[in-house]
Amino acid sequence: MGSPEGQKPVLEARGLVKRFGTVLALRGVDFDLRPAEVHALCGENGAGKSTLIKTLSGIWPHGSYEGEILMGGQVQRFRTIADSERAGLSVIHQELALVPEMTVAENVFLGHEPTRLGMVDHDRMLAETDQLLSRWGINVSANASIADLGIGQRQLVEIAKALRKDSKVLILDEPSAALTDKEVEVLLTIVRELRSRGVSSVYISHRLEEVFALSDRITVLRDGQTVITLDTAQTDRAQVIAHMVGRPIDNLFPRRRSHPGKCLLSVKGLSVAEPGGEKKARLSDISFDLHQGEVLGIGGLMGAGRSELLMHLFGIYGERLSGTAELEKAAVPGTPAACIEQGLVLVTEDRKRFGLVLNQTVGFNLSLSAIDEFSPRGFVDRDQEIKRNSEYVDSMRIKAQNQETIAGTLSGGNQQKIVIGKALMTKPKVVLLDEPTRGIDVGAKFEIYELINDLTDQGVAVLLVSSELPELIGMSDRILMLSNGRIGGSFSGSQITQEALLAAAMHPGQSEPQPEQS
């Protein structure tokens, strides 16, 4: 306690060790958070970040771990989340805890509703929520229903909920994973504003740009241990990444270009209406060609229609108003099953919803799309199935105890690898990759980039959707920017710059797409 009064850490972990059975999830974490500091926590998936947060916030109660947690110099013994909240610590989790059927105000006050004569005082609740939202520059109506909000806006509501509690310490677990660039700006402003008012934050993010834009110090975790704590001003991305993976990565985007072959996928004048009766155009007049061995990147702001384009091509979104999509000169079929048979697969962005049967095993999921191959006449040849699965578990480096491990218990990166492995097992000619590296760690990202290279080397064509511009630029041979469901610009070679792409994404003349008249 040599530090001067006031510099005493608001939150401190000393030698935290947490076991699950015989497995050590944390093997000695030291961490301290100073008053009015933003402290970033970096590490690959499985490094122990989430376990650390759960331990700090009382989800893993006192007694289930070794070591000490201190707040303001006092040893804390949290038994529940309520205990840690009372002590002034709020956690904003990766997975949101909002009730979709209720309004923003009702969610912000959930469990703490102001009452008047025993009845919920809706007026006061709305007024106070409005005040809270406008104070922090969050552009959401207090009366809006959560179900009507985008995932980014929901994230901001979640943060507003925590702010209402006047916390001293805010822990943000991947808050920006689903936010648009504009929403990220709002988020960063909020966190900075909090800092200026003396609130400290622990900020966890895979996006190093934000970490460097925001934090005062960076602590790197690896394999459940603190590796190092760095002053942000005195380090750089390469150094942080090197500490995270334990080895330096020289090139973040190892794209190996190959020579494009014949045209595999040809889309001409495609216009697609939203599902539902109104026939409002979601995509208008989209045309492109995709060749063997080529990566065509699809960029755009959130809501530009990138995922919708991929999902429509795969037969699971919207109704075609006009245009054609051809795979090797034959019309792309209208159902996923037929698309897969023709050599077109989709790796979905939302792996929990569209990607995995979470309560089934790794093997079950891996072989689900390609099962025809080893079930002639319907009977599944288990020996062959297990053999094929093993090949993919090995080549994709899926870290699971064995093929019978339940998919839902794996980390996000490993789940993503199963989704990709499942698609590749069908031996596709064209792969639609929708945000293949969302929410996974640097090492796993690198492996997925290598995989894209391997695929194009074998002559597979890849359509790559990504929200991260560096990734899009680094991994694509050509880039198509979408803006409000239209093509905002098409780029290749030296035309590809962050500025040009962003300008195309925000293409001014086409911000108000009109429904097609034809």
Partner: protein, 392 residues
């Protein structure tokens, strides 16, 4: 919550033990119930009563196995009780009213049944109407049509004093030697299958619980041998039990070893993911309902033959017994979870309860209440156990 703790997945030994406890908990419950009944009335364990029980069990258990294929992909079928009444009644009318030969009558009724159920399945998936509603409609319509077909009377499955394929379903017993031979062959095959599976698992370096596998095999062998022994002291193995055994085998292989089965579990676990993975979800569900049509026909024939005639009450409320058997046997109504062995145990528990209570001459009121309580308790226990497993 556990998705972020890949480490937690490695703590499998206690989880394994819990699952086993859950499997054996049904056996324990069954033994307990049987002990109570046999103490209250020694006749419960008589070969005559067990033979009776076996025949009663057949129709319900066959139906429950069909229900498994509907519940695993997340649907439900409320129509099967009146459906099996209709199909059984139709066959009886074709034989005694229209003079068709028994095999032909059974075949025609079974085809009608398959068409009806495949049709319901098609409406459910194509028009996206919940199975609950469509099959509730089926329950009412089939009941009405059944009564029309039998003209609100009692139609025997065979003309007085004679025998045909229909009537012998629940009156024919296998000769004792054949029964023993079958039991021996089945025990041998089960052992061989278990041994092969173990060997393969070891070769694949997967967890191989040799003791558990041996214990399961040993227990089933004992039970089977004892059962055949007892039944042979009365009249031998009832034919209906052979029908049940064959159905169970087919459904097991279909659900565990066929692509169709995989798809059922995938749809029940996550329908959207299944669709995106290329599972022809509509076709699979329609096929499951078509198989249900076959099952409804089989259990309809068994149930009608058991009563000797089709009456307006044949099959009444059997859909609920079938659903209860599935749920007691660990099938999740949300879909994606359930096994043939579990459902067989569930059906056995329901039938033993009913048989024992009938033997004790309990009033119908009490029987309904007791069955309801058992169902609720079983589900409650299952929820508790699965919750504690999830926490571990």
């Amino acid at each position: 919550m556990t998705t972020q703790e890949p480490q937690a997945a490695k703590v499998s030994p206690p989880k394994q033990a819990k699952v086993n406890l859950r499997d054996f908990s049904m056996l324990i419950a069954l033994v307990l119930i049987s002990v109570v009944f046999s103490l209250m009335d020694p006749a419960f364990l008589s070969s005559r009563n067990l033979s009776q029980l076996a025949i009663e069990l057949s129709a319900t258990a066959v139906l429950s196995l069909g229900m498994l294929l509907i519940i695993v992909p997340g649907h439900i079928d409320l129509s099967v009780g009146s459906g099996l009444g209709l199909v059984g009644g139709l066959a009886a009318v074709l034989i005694t009213g229209k003079g068709l030969s028994a095999p032909l009558a059974l075949l025609v009724s079974a085809l009608v049944s398959v068409a009806l159920y495949a049709g319901m399945g098609a409406i459910i998936v194509k028009e996206k109407i919940p199975a609950f509603i469509i099959t509730l409609g089926g329950l009412l319509v089939f009941k009405g049509v059944h009564w029309l077909v039998i003209n609100n009377s009692t139609i025997p499955v065979v003309d007085g004093g004679e025998h045909n394929l229909y009537s012998i379903l629940t009156t024919y017993y296998l000769p004792p030697t054949l029964g023993y031979a079958m039991a021996a062959v089945i025990i041998g095959l089960l052992g061989l299958a278990a041994f092969n599976e173990l060997k393969k698992r070891k070769a694949r370096k997967l967890e191989a619980d040799s003791e558990g596998a041996f214990l399961s095999w040993f227990l089933s062998a004992q039970l089977l041998a004892l059962f055949v022994l007892v039944l042979n002291q009365y009249r031998g193995l009832p034919l209906s039990l052979i029908v049940l055994g064959a159905t169970a085998f087919v459904i097991h292989v279909l659900s565990q070893h066929f692509r169709f089965g995989r798809y059922l579990y995938a749809i029940g676990g996550n329908e959207e993911a299944a669709l995106v993975s290329g599972v022809p979800t509509d076709k699979v569900v329609i096929l499951a309902f078509a198989v249900m049509g076959v099952i409804v026909a089989i259990s309809g024939f068994l149930q009608t033959a058991f009563a000797g005639a089709s009456t307006t009450t044949t099959g009444a409320l059997m859909e609920l017994d079938a659903i209860a058997a599935c749920v007691i046997g660990g099938t999740s109504l949300k879909g994606g979870r359930g096994t043939v062995v579990g459902v067989l145990f569930g059906a056995l528990i329901m039938c033993v309860l009913l048989n024992g209570m009938t033997l004790l001459a309990l009033s119908p009121e009490m029987k309904f209440i007791a069955r309801g309580v058992v169902l609720t308790l079983a589900v409650w226990m299952d929820v508790r156990l699965s919750r504690s497993t999830a926490r571990a």
